[in-house]
Each structure stands twice: as C-alpha cells, then as structure tokens.
C-alpha cells in the first residue's frame, strides 16, 4: 500500500474512532439516568475529543516530535502542539471527573439515589416545598393570626 492510501485509511480509522467515541459518550450522557453511567459517558466523550485533537496533528510518515541532538535532516515530525494541548485536556478531564465522583458520593448520601432525573425532581420539589411551606402557613395561618389580634 502506498503512503497516500495508508494515510487515507488511517485518517478514516482515527476520525471514525473519535466520532464513534463522541457519539457513544453523548448518547450515554443524554439517554442514561444513572449518574455513574453519565460520568462514564463523559469520560468517553472526552476521550473521543482528545483523539480527534491528536489526529489533527498526526502524519503517518512523521516521527515523534523530540529534539535529540542528531536530528536527521528531511525527517518530518508530527505536530507537537495538539499533543501538548491534550495533555492539558486529559489532566483537566481527570480532575473534573474526580470532583464529579466526589460529589456523587455526597449526593448519594443526601438523597439515597443516583438517578439524575429523580434528583432533578427532588430539587424541584425541594424548591417548591420551600415556596409551599411559606405560602401554606400564610394561607392557613391567617384566621389564627387575625383571631389572636382581635
């Protein structure tokens, strides 16, 4: 196989893989209700994005971008900038994921559930309850209050 065909095939594989990871990740984040699955989806999504970023700088005929003293003239290197970028992105992703898992533990302790939709309902109900509890005494307490003043 000549170089161009090789490049084309590799390009399909890498970009196809990245697109697949992104789609699976997004699917999990949107359709799944279990928090851990959602976070797994996030992790897949990030992996896909990182892969597409590193693919942007990839060339099949190039070598690793390391300056060693005796660099061979005429040898091309892959673009080092995306590699530096994804290193940062991976670190950020790990940090955010760890934070999310820590929060998941707190949420599980507070509500005893890991279902995102249920959590949303709890949040809405809690806020409604806040409003309710303030309206209800106002409504039901009115006769009592007026009775005490009269």
């Amino acid at each position: 196989m000549n170089l161009e065909a090789q490049t084309a095939v590799l390009g399909y594989v890498i970009y196809g893989g990245a697109a697949g990871l992104i789609i699976i990740g997004l699917y999990a984040m949107v359709m799944k209700r279990h928090l851990i699955r959602v976070l797994l989806g996030l992790s897949l999504l990030e992996a896909g994005v990182n892969l597409s970023l590193v693919a942007a700088g990839f060339r099949p005929d190039a070598v690793a971008p390391i300056f060693s003293g005796n660099a061979v003239a005429g040898l091309t290197m892959v673009d080092p900038v995306p590699q530096a970028l994804i290193l940062t992105a991976i670190v950020i992703g790990v940090g955010v994921l760890a934070l999310a898992l820590a929060m998941t533990i707190k949420v599980q302790r507070a509500y005893d559930t890991l279902d995102t939709r249920q959590l949303a309902e709890y949040l809405a109900v809690e806020q409604m309850a806040n409003t309710k509890s303030s309206i209800e005494p106002a409504d039901t307490g009115e006769p009592a209050a007026s009775g005490s003043t009269s």
Binding site: L53, A55, A56, A100, T149
Partner: protein
C-alpha cells in the same frame, strides 16, 4: 504594568492562603482580601496605561506565538479584570462552613476569570474556562446542603459535556488553520474557517461556552444552581461568570467569525434565550427563580447585541452586560436578605415589606426599574444602545429582534411591577402577621447592595463620560483583528509539520 499579573497574583495567593492561615490566623484572615485588592489596583493601573498607550500584548514566558501563548490587554479585557476583582471584593465569601476553602476557590475563580478576559489564545481560554468552572462548582457546594451538591453535580455534568464539545470545536479550528491564536485566526479565517467546517466548529464552541453564558438550550442549570447556592455565590455567578463566558463568544465573533453566518446564529440563539428566559420568569413564583430567569433573559439580550457587526454592537452588548453585572448581584443579595428574615424567598412573604423595610424596598424598586429600562436609569441607555444598534442593519432578523427587545421589556415590566406591587401593598393585618425584623435590609451585609445601588445612581450622573469610555472601548475591541501580523506567523503551518 504586565498583563500577566492579575492572573498570577490571585493564583499564587490561592495556593499560599492555607499556609498563611496556618502560620498566622489574622494574616490568613486578610490574605485573600489583600491579594484581591492588589488585583483591583493592578486593573486600575492597566486601565490607565492601556487607555494612554493602546492595547498591551505579552508573550508569556518569552515564547512568541504561535508556539507561545499570548495575553492581550485591551480596554474591554481590563474592564473585566477590574469587574472580576472588584466584584469578588464586594461579594467576598463569608465563610459559612470553611472559610479557607471558600476563599481559595474564590481566588482561583478570580485568577481564571482574569485569564479569560486577557487571553488571546483559544486553548488558553478553554483552560481558564475550566478553572473558572471547577472553582464555581466548589463555591456552589459551599453551603454543604444536599440540594447544593445535587445542583452542582447536575451543573457539572452539563458544563463538562459543553466543555468537551467546545474542545472539539477548538480541535476543528486547529485542524483547519493550524493556529489557536485569535489574532492569527482573524487573519486566516476568511480562507479556512468560513465554510461548513468552520461553522460546525463555531456551533460546537457556542454550545460549549453557552452553558456558562446561560444561552439556550443548555441553561437548565441556572434556576437550580442560583436557588441552591448561597446568595453571594449566585450573585457572583450571575454577575460575573456568565459574562466571562459570553466574552469568549464575543472574541470569536469579532475575530475568526466576523462577517459570517455565525453572527446570525448568535442573534437567533440570543433571541430564543431572551424570550424563553423572560417567559419562564413570568411563570416562576419564587423571587430567586425569577431573578435567575431574568438573568437568562438579559444574557440573551447581550448575545443579540454581540451579533451586530462593528463597534455599535460591542458597545450595546457591553452596556447591557455592565448594567446587568451591577444590578443583578444586588437583587440577589436583597432577595437573600428578605429570605433570611422570613425563611423563604417566596412571593407571599414579600407582601407589605415596604412598610417594614422602606430602604431595601426602595432600592429594589430602583434596581427593577433600571432593569426594565426606565430613563434616566442606566438600563434605559443599555436598551437604547441595543435597539439603535439593531436598527442600523435593516434586515428582517434585525427588525424582528428589535420587536423582541420591546416584547421582552413588556414581560419584564409585568413581573417586576407585580413584585413591586406586593412590596408596597398596604395590608396592615398581613404585615403584622409576618414578623419582620425592623428594617431587615440595614444590617452589615447591606453594604454591597448599597454600593451597587450607589453605582446605579452614579452612572445616571456620569452617563456622558461613561458613553465616551464605552465608545473608545468598543472601537478598540473591534480593532482586535486589525493588529499587524506577527513575525512568527508561519512557524507551524496547517500541515502541522515542523521542518
């Protein structure tokens, strides 16, 4: 004055704060505040030097772009450095649970915020955006209640997904142009980004940064977070952090995506955001929810303004953002004070509050009138600028958007006047039943509200010089793309190979 200072000082202070606290309790108490105050002074220094000598650029670490990262301080950036730091000082966390932790997060938030304002590199913007995001998740949970954890986690998931999409957009921009420097992007964009790939990248970045900018459709977190977090945090998030995310969008529209379909996309997204936010506010029954939804509406207006090409749009958008930045935090703080004195922010409890607490009610009325846009309050000038900028281009969309601004204003008037009516209802029986502390607003935490209210009044008196400053600022922002080409513009080509 080096533009790297406002990023470095709070970050360093954040790392040193726990040590300072351990070494000396009083030193630890004032360390963070002092660092933030220094940041405010630096912002003022930067402002004077930028307004005298024009924008400053700084290649961090001596590496020139595109290998290095460039910071660029124009008036717009410096304004936000000032706003980020000064507002943090005003809304300094009170340390409900763990003072050191909250202050550390606040300092990190300031550092990331200044970085977002100053950065001229797309990836660097993304990194600072993540720093701001992580710091704000932490601050939201500072109440340590179950609701705040759940709200923060749901926000985190949405925001992380958005960030990943934004990063994908950035990757596309990089593969199309071979650079992430905004100045170079502006030069390369007409050939390489004004196509379907570039538009996809913009859509992805708009989705990603739109999460924090409270733009439709990824703004479902807004009411949850702003009601679950403490008022100071909500005030800071609504006042500052959302604007920072919108700045990124503005920079993109001003540089890489000037004169493209991207502006129409932004206009449409802004219109939907404004309309949906205000309509949701109309239906909400809880004061803090109303304020959250109205914040979405205001950011939609700002996004609409930024979609107008040229300095008029920047000027209008900056006016809308600045006005919202001053008014909304004050309203959130007022809502919390009324809430804490009556255990609830629900509307029923607000009835007849004016007779008990005339000052805070009057202040609320002033701020609400300004948000609606009653002359001569600053909100009127912001809306006036927005409408006149929209009308310079008489396309169908612009005319539609102008009509929408007016509709949104009417909706805003309806719900804010509903609240005001409640406040000033003279119902002796009801107000005696609600056991208000006398003049709830005039306790010590009233200071930030009073300062912000004072700013609103002051801006009425200083309308003319403020307008001039805004005009200078917006012309400078538009000139971002007009910076002369850098000498190293061709080190990394789009093939991505180094010789």
């Amino acid at each position: 004055m080096n533009p790297v200072l406002p990023i470095v000082i709070p970050m360093l202070a954040a790392l040193l704060l726990p040590m300072a606290q351990r070494a000396h309790a009083i030193a630890g108490r004032w360390f963070g505040i002092a660092a933030t105050a220094v940041n405010v002074l630096i912002a003022i220094g930067l402002w004077t030097s930028v307004s005298n000598q024009g924008p400053l650029t700084e290649s961090v670490g001596g590496f020139i772009a595109p290998l290095g990262i460039m910071l660029r301080a124009d008036l717009f950036a410096v304004l936000f450095v000032f706003a980020v730091s000064a507002m943090a000082l005003l809304l300094w966390p009170r340390g409900e649970n763990d003072r050191v932790r909250e202050e550390t997060l606040m300092l990190l938030l300031i550092s990331g915020g200044c970085g977002m304002a100053l950065s001229a590199d797309l990836f660097n913007l993304y990194v600072f955006y993540e720093l701001v995001a992580v710091a704000s998740y932490g601050l939201i949970t500072s109440r340590a209640s179950g609701a705040s954890y759940a709200a923060a986690l749901r926000f985190l998931i949405l925001s992380a997904a958005g960030s990943a999409l934004a990063l994908l957009g950035i990757a596309m921009v990089y593969s199309a142009t071979g650079t992430l420097n905004l100045v170079q992007l502006a030069q390369l964009a007409p050939e390489s980004l004004h196509g379907p790939l570039g538009m996809t990248a913009f859509t992805l970045m708009l989705l990603g940064f739109g999460v924090k900018a409270e733009l439709f459709p990824l703004n479902t977190w807004v009411p949850e977070v702003y009601t679950a977090a403490s008022a100071r945090v909500s005030a800071y998030l609504a006042g500052i952090v959302s604007k920072l995310a919108l700045i990124v969008v503005l920079r993109l529209v001003m540089t890489a995506y000037a004169h493209t379909d991207a502006t129409s996309l932004l206009l449409v997204v802004g219109m939907i955001t404004a309309l949906s936010g205000e309509l949701a506010a109309l239906r909400a029954t809880d004061l803090r929810r109303i304020l959250s939804y109205s914040s979405i509406g205001q950011l939609g207006l700002a996004a609409m303004a930024f979609s107008i090409p040229g300095s008029l749009g920047v000027m209008a958008g900056t006016a809308v953002m600045l006005h919202h930045l001053v008014v909304k935090p004050a309203l959130f703080l007022l809502a919390e004070q009324w809430q804490s004195s009556s255990d609830s922010s629900s509307m029923a409890r607000l009835t007849g509050l004016a007779s008990r607490s005339p000052w805070s009610a009057a202040l609320f009325l002033l701020l609400a009138l300004s948000l609606i846009g009653i002359p001569p309050l600053p909100g009127f000038w912001a809306k006036y600028l927005l409408i006149s900028a929209l009308l310079t281009e008489a396309s169908v969309w612009q005319v539609l958007a102008t009509g929408l601004v007016i509709v949104v204003t009417v909706v805003k008037t309806v719900y804010f006047m509903g609240i005001a009516q409640r406040l000033y209802q003279r119902d002796a029986e009801e107000s005696s039943r609600l056991q208000w502390q006398s003049e709830v607003g005039l306790q010590q935490p009233f200071t930030p509200v009073a300062v912000l209210g004072g700013l609103v009044v002051l801006s009425v008196l200083l309308a003319a010089p403020l307008g001039d400053t805004l005009e200078r600022l917006s012309t400078q922002t538009v000139e971002f793309s007009g910076v002369p080409a850098m000498r190293s513009a061709s080190i990394v080509t789009s093939e991505g190979a180094l010789p």
